[in-house]
């Protein structure tokens, strides 16, 4: 076995885009992994191979290609079950991404179970995709949406949760396992414990967690779990919703159409078995296959190694960035409680201007509200700059980032 150090050195060779130069011939330094990740050859090739050799519509046909395509598609379901420890593959639904997953729950579970006066609880550091669907359904049902507050360290104030639970009106508590802005790792175990004691269901937005740390759904004990393929080396257009069977069985269908039905008659229809009841229409077959390849790739590295690599980078980055005069980092500095996402502001320079100036140096960081405007209001800022790491990033990437900030300082006469 190779050492983890060599492992991570060799990884970059698998990612063709990292050989690119941008702007004025600068090597690409990609630090926007919380937004989307790059793809290794293994994933790209799996999609090519699917189209070159096995493409067909799945489930229904008898012929050879359809058999191969169906097998490849369903194999990914098993890989997912293994990867995040799901016992029953029928609980795994393919969706476009985390956003569709959460909206599916809001429509197919929420519209049936949330009634007037009920409460849905979310948190102040959620991505818009875990806020807006709940605004829509609670408004429609004359229910309420409440927020678990965040302390100045970027951690949730769980006393708020106790307060809401005490009303006896909470139907669902929904939260991300890792904040996409601050990197905070939520104490899911504690929240779920409280919710279970109160008989309340829990939804976890795992978009930032699944790509970056070992996640065990059996151990977590939540009821809904969502994540996106494109943030974990997989293709765009594919994601996963997991729902505990006993809850899934209480859900109305979402999209009507092919593959989700058992029998269609003119005026009545019966539904297919799980999970197909929730997978209407031709699915994104090729990208399901690609997601399978991404899971294989991550499994081979080992999620504990991924996490360790990112802790090391985050530690280094916080050290280096803290030395830049006028630079403020948000969130906790306790590395055991955060992932490889660093949001910062640099003196009075607007994050857009920071991003644009360092883009000229080949650096890709995100600036803006990161689809977390409620959190921006809480932090009392319009925007932040955000650097986020993945398996192919190096300390050198961070050095280049830190150096580029000198140019910003010069332009803005800091």
């Amino acid at each position: 076995m190779q050492s983890t150090e060599t492992l991570f050195e060799n990884i970059r060779n698998d990612f063709p885009i990292l050989k690119r130069t941008v702007r004025d011939n600068k090597p690409l330094v990609y630090l926007d992994n919380a937004s989307t990740t790059q793809k290794p050859n293994q994933v790209i090739d799996s999609i090519t191979d699917y189209y070159q050799n096995h493409n067909a519509n799945i489930h229904r046909a008898v012929y050879a290609l359809a058999e191969e395509a169906t097998e490849a598609y369903e194999a990914t379901r098993d890989k997912i079950a293994n990867f995040v420890n799901i016992k029953d593959r029928q609980e795994i639904i393919f969706v476009r991404g985390t956003t569709e997953a959460i909206n599916l729950v809001a429509y197919a579970w929420g519209r049936t179970h949330i009634k007037e006066g009920d409460i849905v609880v979310t948190t102040e550091y959620e991505h818009h995709s875990n806020i807006v669907p709940w605004q829509l359904v609670t408004q429609e049902k004359h229910a309420k949406l409440e927020y678990i507050g965040m302390d100045d360290n970027g951690e949730l104030i769980l006393d708020d949760l106790d307060k809401y639970l005490a009303t006896g009106k909470v139907k669902l508590v929904t939260f991300s396992l890792m904040s996409n802005v601050l990197g905070t790792i939520t104490d899911a175990q504690k929240i779920i414990e409280k919710c279970k004691a109160a008989g309340v269901l829990t939804l976890i937005d795992g978009a930032q967690a699944v790509p970056h740390m070992k996640v065990d759904l059996e151990k977590l004990g939540c009821d809904f779990f969502a994540f996106s393929g494109h943030k974990m080396l997989g293709p765009t257009g594919i994601g996963v919703l997991w729902v505990r069977k006993s809850v899934l069985e209480t859900m109305s269908p979402f999209h009507g159409g092919g593959d989700m039905i058992r029998e269609v008659h003119k005026y009545e229809t019966t539904w297919n078995d799980l999970p197909y009841k929730f997978e209407a229409g031709t699915p994104n077959i090729a990208d399901v296959v690609g997601l399978g390849a991404a899971i294989d790739y991550l499994t081979k590295i080992g999620m504990d190694n991924v996490r360790e690599h990112e802790i090391e980078l985050t530690k280094y980055a916080i050290e280096k960035l803290s030395q830049v005069k006028g630079l403020h980092i948000y969130g906790t500095k306790d590395l055991s409680k955060r992932g490889g996402v660093i949001s910062f502001n640099f003196a009075d320079v607007h994050p857009h201007d920071v991003a644009q100036i360092i883009d000229e140096e080949g650096i890709a960081v995100r600036s803006g509200h990161h689809c977390a405007q409620v959190l921006m209001e809480r932090l009392n800022v319009a925007a932040t700059s955000r650097a986020s790491f993945y398996i192919y990033n190096t300390k050198q990437d961070i050095d280049i980032l830190v150096n580029s900030l000198n140019i910003v300082a010069k332009v803005f006469k800091l």
């Binding site: 489930h59 058999e67 078995d273 197909y276």
Partner: protein, 147 residues
């Protein structure tokens, strides 16, 4: 995998044209209907049950040759069995009778649809008449996970 030439042997072709135990039982003690959402095959099974024994069984519906042949064989196997024996019938009891052990995944669903309907009919009957629910759940699960 056996080739298709093997699969469509005389017995299957014959059963498909002349299924046995085909029809309905007027005074059935239990009946169940299910269909294959992917291909549209659709099977009903009716049973007479006396003294915990399947005294008569018939099926009807629409399906391919494989589905018809397997339904014929399954009902033939089941007739006269006790409930305990009937619920113990397994995939291969049906498939081996017709040399279909290595059928491809999509067609397995055609072959086993009637077994699924039988198991569902059994748990319906047992649940209603014998109130032994723990076991019924197991049977239900068995039916659901047949293929």
């Amino acid at each position: 995998m056996s080739s298709n030439a093997d699969i469509y042997h005389e017995m299957i072709v014959d059963y498909s044209r002349n299924p046995i135990n085909y029809g309905e039982i007027e005074n059935h003690d239990v009946t169940f209907h299910d269909s294959n959402p992917l291909c549209g095959d659709s099977i009903d099974i009716d049973m007479k049950i006396d003294d915990n024994k399947v005294t008569d069984i018939k099926f009807h519906g629409k399906g391919c040759a494989i589905c018809m042949a397997c339904s014929s064989v399954l009902t033939e196997i089941t007739k006269g069995k006790s409930l305990d024996e009937a619920r113990a019938i397994e995939k291969n009891d049906v498939l081996s009778e017709l040399g279909l052990e290595h059928l491809q995944a999509v067609r397995i669903k055609c072959a086993l649809l009637s077994l699924k309907v039988l198991k569902s009919a059994l748990y319906t009957y047992i649940g209603k008449n014998l109130k032994d629910t723990g076991d019924v759940d197991k049977l239900k699960e068995e039916a659901a996970n047949l293929y």
